[in-house]
Every structure is written in structure tokens, then in C-alpha cells.
Symmetry: C2
Subunit: 400 residues, 2 copies
């Protein structure tokens, strides 16, 4: 927990902090007794008892039967109540919409997916409402019901949750947060797709133990989500991680962004497809995508395999830059390109092993996404869950 600028410190803050401490302990290590919580957090037994009672009242935890004795009275085991509420996470892609209903532990209870091509905002909005409605209907009965909605979008989101620019959707200055909050009267979080993916991996995926994780969302373009010191870094205005437009070739080819030699001109899905087209790898077929190339590689087509290896190498170049910049514990490659792990990994790790500074390579993991297509949806769900739990920790207002 962190304290904002002009926050004064008083009893409420202390209680809120300790309540979080106890809940986190139970959430991570359940089943666990009050006594164990006390000794492991350093809090007094009495304090723990009282906070546990608060949490029981809120239905955030519950008691199960007695546990094993260790030579004395048998402890009452406490469990985190993952189904005290549910949250909706939406991955709003360029040509797909994926919605999940998740419990408070990130277990996916229900899932809806739709694919489309070049739809208007109105049509996408309708699809979005439909998806949310269906997921809400699918939620089991629970003490807190649906606690929030999160949406990950392929674009620039400012700190107020407004979508400033989503080039591939042709959206500009769109306040989806307000639209959804008014319609559903629930807390809504809008986040960039790469940021959300990073958070998803941190909370529920490959990055659970790490404090410094860089998530490379490699799809049509490349975006990067930064988990630094355990929390998402968003920059001054929320525009961090636009590393797809990092120059890796001075005075290279022009990019539509205005820059030259951008990383995503070398290592994105689009770059791969463009190169394949130039090679004339599908002489008859004008319209092909990543999965077609994947099939070809699986059939042993050497041209296709070399294309992937080349792309893996270029991915490695940018990841090298990432490593030198951030000294992370972990780099996770996610989004659509992660599906080609088999054909990218070798050349990618080769590039890094040969060219990254040696001292950066200790304790460094380079992984492909564990959550596969769910990273973003689970990430925004995680934001909602965290928001909900932090509200639960706050003292209730007493009306007089």
C-alpha cells in the first residue's frame, strides 16, 4: 500500500494497512490459522483476531473446520473466499472481442468470444454491451455480485481512462469509461492492452514472483507493458511503453508514426507478413495471416521457418534494448506472436545470449506468455479486483 501526497497518517490508515496485510496473507497462504497469521505478519494475536472478524463480516474470508494440531489446541483454518464476488474482463482487440467472467482469484468462470472485421464504433459498442450482459447473467450468486468491469484496448489511454487514440480501430478521444459506468453503474477501468497484459502475467501468470517484469505485446504492432517495483509504470500521461516505435535502424525505412527504422517494422506480425508477401511465399493467395504462415512452418517449409527465425532475431534486438534499459527479472513475450514460440524462441534467445551485457543475464528469464490469449482480459480483471479489495479495506462511512 502506498500513501498519496497530502494524506495524513492516522488510525484509519493503520487499520486499513493491517487489514490489507492480513487479507493478503490469507489470500496467498490459505488455509492458515489466526495464530500463524499473527506470527508471520508480526501483528499481535488480538489484533489479528479483531481484523479477521471484520473480514469474516465482509465475507472476504471464511472459516473451515479445524486443522491439524501441532501439539496443542487445533487451529481454526481461515480461507480466502474467492467467490465473494466476480469481475468482468474484456480484451477489445482490433478484430476480435474476448470477454471473461472471473472470480476474485482470477479463475475464469465464463468466456465469450466474437470475431469481426472493420466494424464501426457503434457496432463494436453493441457487441461489447451484449458480451457484458451475457457474462453478468452467467455470474453465480455471491455476496458482492459483479464488482467491476475492465477493458483492455489497443491504443493510448490517458490517466483519466479516456482513449486518446486507437489507430487500428480508428478511434479518437473516446470516453468508453463514462459510457460503461453510466450504463452499468459499476467501477470501470480502461487500460492499454499491453499494460493490462503485463499486469495479468504479474498477477496470475508467468511473473508471479517477480517485481520487475517487461511484457512485450507483439501483434500487428508492438506495445510494451512495464511492471517496475511491483506496480505498473504508466509515465507522465499514461503513454509509456510505446517501444514498437523505438528506432533500431538509424535512418531506416519510414514508419507511419513519423519515425524511421522502428522496431515494429522489423519484428511485428505485420512485418513478418510483409516480408512473406515480398518473398511471394503464397503465390496464389493474396490474403493470408500469421496462422497460415505457422501452418507452413509446421509442414517444414524452409522459407517460412527462416522468416520466423529472422523475426525472432529482430525481436531479440529490441528485447536486448529492454534488458539494458530496465535490468528486469523477467521478459514475457505475449499477444499473437507468442503463438509462434516454437519458431521464434531459438533465434531470439541466441541474439540475447550473444549480445546482452553478461551481468544482465544472471537471474534473467525470457518467457512466452503463460496465459496465452487471456493475459489482457485477466489483467484488466485484476485491476478491477484490486480496486474492489482496496475499497473493502477502507472504513465504512457511518451515517448519523
Amino acid at each position: 500500500m502506498k500513501i498519496g501526497m497530502n494524506q495524513t497518517w492516522n488510525h484509519h490508515v493503520v487499520k486499513e494497512g493491517n487489514k490489507s496485510l492480513v487479507l493478503d496473507k490469507i489470500k496467498n497462504d490459505y488455509p492458515i490459522s489466526r495464530a500463524a497469521v499473527a506470527s508471520q505478519t508480526g501483528l499481535n494475536k488480538g489484533t489479528v483476531s479483531s481484523l479477521v472478524n471484520d473480514l469474516l463480516e465482509d465475507h472476504l474470508i471464511f472459516e473451515s473446520g479445524p486443522g491439524e494440531s501441532s501439539g496443542g489446541r487445533r487451529p481454526v483454518m481461515l480461507l480466502f473466499n474467492g467467490t465473494a464476488g466476480y469481475t468482468i474482463g474484456i480484451d477489445l482487440g482490433v478484430n476480435y472481442l474476448l470477454g471473461i467472467l472471473s472470480d476474485l482469484e482470477g479463475n475464469v468462470v465464463s468466456q465469450k468470444e466474437a470475431r469481426y472485421k472493420k466494424m464501426s464504433y457503434e457496432a463494436i459498442e453493441a457487441k461489447l454491451f451484449e458480451t457484458i450482459d451475457e457474462l453478468m447473467a452467467a455470474a453465480p450468486e455471491s455476496p458482492h455480485g459483479i464488482v467491476g468491469i475492465g477493458v483492455g484496448v489497443p491504443g493510448i489511454v490517458d490517466k483519466g481512462g479516456e482513449i486518446l487514440l486507437a489507430p487500428n480501430l480508428n478511434w479518437k478521444n473516446l470516453n468508453l469509461k463514462n459510457v460503461l459506468e453510466e450504463k452499468y453503474d459499476l467501477p470501470v477501468i480502461i487500460e492499454n492492452e499491453a499494460n493490462a497484459g503485463a499486469y495479468g502475467e504479474k498477477k496470475f501468470g508467468a511473473g508471479k514472483e517477480c517485481e520487475n517484469i517487461i511484457y512485450v505485446s507483439a501483434g500487428i504492432g508492438i506495445g510494451v507493458g512495464l511492471i517496475l517495483n511491483g506496480s505498473l509504470y504508466k509515465g507522465a500521461n499514461g503513454f509509456s511503453g510505446e517501444m514498437g516505435h523505438m528506432t533500431i535502424q538509424v535512418d531506416g525505412l519510414k514508419c507511419r508514426c513519423g519515425n524511421q527504422g522502428c522496431w515494429e517494422l522489423f519484428a511485428s506480425e505485420q512485418a513478418l507478413i510483409d516480408r512473406a508477401e515480398k518473398m511471394g511465399i503464397f503465390p496464389e493467395q493474396a490474403d493470408f495471416d500469421l496462422s497460415d504462415l505457422l501452418k507452413l512452418a509446421e509442414q517444414g517449409n524452409e522459407q517460412a521457418i527462416e522468416l520466423f527465425e529472422q523475426t525472432g532475431d529482430y525481436l531479440g534486438v529490441g528485447i536486448n534494448n529492454i534488458i539494458n534499459t530496465f535490468n528486469p527479472q523477467q521478459v514475457i513475450i505475449g499477444n499473437r506472436m507468442a503463438t509462434s514460440k516454437e519458431w521464434l524462441e531459438k533465434s531470439l534467445t541466441n541474439r540475447v545470449a550473444n549480445q546482452a551485457l553478461w551481468f544482465q543475464q544472471n537471474d534473467l528469464q525470457i518467457n512466452f506468455s503463460e496465459l496465452s490469449t487471456l493475459s489482457t482480459a485477466l489483467g484488466v480483471a485484476a485491476f478491477s479486483i484490486e480496486n474492489f479489495l482496496s475499497v473493502c479495506m477502507q472504513p465504512k462511512l457511518v451515517l448519523r
Copy 2:
């Protein structure tokens, strides 16, 4: 203030936090009355009075005469006692050693500089001791005396303060922290030169108001210090900011680091000198440096001016990458190359203005160092000061 992992929350924490709040308020806005501190922090008048008494006892603040009345009793003005103690900051360069004695507000009271070439570790250590001794002798009488020593070094420092590698000094696995702590029995902080410079600018220089600052230390090599969300980001092991070895030319020239096309092969002082040598800009002179080139440019030598412009352009390429990565409020160019501001600035800002994403350019400042050669020394001094003050906030141990 931030709370560590297993810290429990109790009244000590509350008091510590509020004491910091009050001290910071006085430090930033003095002269200020107790009443104003109370209303501006949101704390109760009584609480402020009691905390102010603590601070007075510690000599960290003092009372001056009464201020202006605003229609009632005249307030007693409180002032931060910048000379309650002094700290020593050392910038240990590749061929120079700069030491300063600073008060708690970063005012330089005394200064010592030495230049050398290729000295052994033992010789540098002797010089370092000599400098520290002289600065300590120069410190005025004060309640807390010398409160710490900070050293900035051109190399990789791990989180424990050990210098793992300083290639230009030919140092490896050197625990200077232990050496100094044993000799002087004072808290010692060892930090990478770029990190220190970034912090110096944040605390006392161009970056005072900003929370996200990237400090580009451009000298023989290029290192980068990252101030993210108001505090220094050091990465998993303390190796962040090695952006001099960021690839900006895929498969470009080999760098001694093992990588190819590194930024510092294009934009560092060394790169500038190498290009000048190739051009034969000084036909007779074999050994020249940055200041010689500067003189030439000032004389209107077109070759030299073009060299600087080229370098500024290359600096811009890397800074572009930095902007897209971090979305900072401010980028500060420091170290030796900052002395050539006049000849670098135009091409540098041109490159950024033309090629950085438009939305990144709002509220973005690109500055050259305000503290000039003192950034690093003041930065490590700032670490010492902060460390001292945070210890002052902690409750005293009562012996029974």
C-alpha cells in the same frame, strides 16, 4: 514514504509519517507558521505543535521572530535548519575526482577537485581519503556534524553498494562502501554516476517539479539515470539504465560490450572524438579532447560544427527511444557533453520534434543540466541527506 514488505502498521509509523510530512512542508515552504502547516497538511493544530517541538529538539528546524499578522496574533515563523549538518559528495570520474561539502539544502560550502590519468586503485583511494579529510576539516560547527558520505562512480553498482565493474577504471568487485564505512564510521552510499546525476537534478536542479525524469549522462560512454514516480529506479540488481548499449543500428559496428550498433558508438564523447580523428581535423595533434573541438567550433570551423550537429542528431535518436519508452516529463542531458549544449541542441531537438510521436511531445521538456559538473556529487549528497533525515524521523530507542 513507503512501507516495506512485512512492516506492520502501528502508532510509530503514524508518527514517523506525520513528522516527515511536517518537516517536508517546512523545508519546502519556509518561513511558515505552525497554523499554516496545520491547514496545508490537513493535520490538527495540536498534532503539528507537538511534532514541531520534536523537530526543534532535533535542531532540524528553528523559530525566527514573529511574522506578519493577518488580522490577529502574529505567527511564530518556522525555518528549516539547513546547517544542522553537512554531507560529503564525491564524483569519482575516470580521470578526475570532485568532492563537495554540502549543507542539508544542497548548498555547496566547500569544493575540492583533482585531475589525473590512469592511476592505480591505491593512488585513487589515497586521493579520495585526502579529499574527504580536507572537506571534513572544512565543515563548520553544527549540531549533527557530518551525516554521511556519498560516492558516484562510473560503473555498475549492485544493490548492496558493491562496485561490480567500472571498465574505464579497471575496477572489479570492489567494496568501497565497507572501506569508507570502516575508516570514517559514517553511513556511506555508493551509486552509479548516472543514477546519482539524475537524483541530483531531481532534488536540486532542473527537475525539481517533475516525477518522471530521465537523465542522460553523456560522456566517454552513455549512461542513463531513471527517476520514475519520483524515485530512482534501479532494476532487479541495480543495473538499469545501460542505454549506451541500446542498439540503434541493427547489425551495425561491433561494440566492445559484445553488441552491435550501440547508441554510444554514435553519440558519446568518444564517438565524436573518433569521428574527428578520422576526418583528420587536427592534422598535427594526435591527442585532443572535447574541449579542443569545442574551441574549434567556437572559432567557426565548419567541420567541427558539423561534427557536433551530427552528434546532436544521434543523441536525439536515442532520446526519442527514451521518450517512447518512458513518457517522461523531462529529459536532462548531463555530464561532459552537456558543455557543448550550444552546438548540439538544435539538431537534437529537431530530431525529436520531427520524429517522436506527437502525443508524447505535450508537456515534454528537454533540458541540459542546470547543475553542470555538480550533478553527480550533489546527487550522492542528496542520498546521504535523505538517509539522514529519514533516520531522524524514526523513534529513538530508549535504553532501560
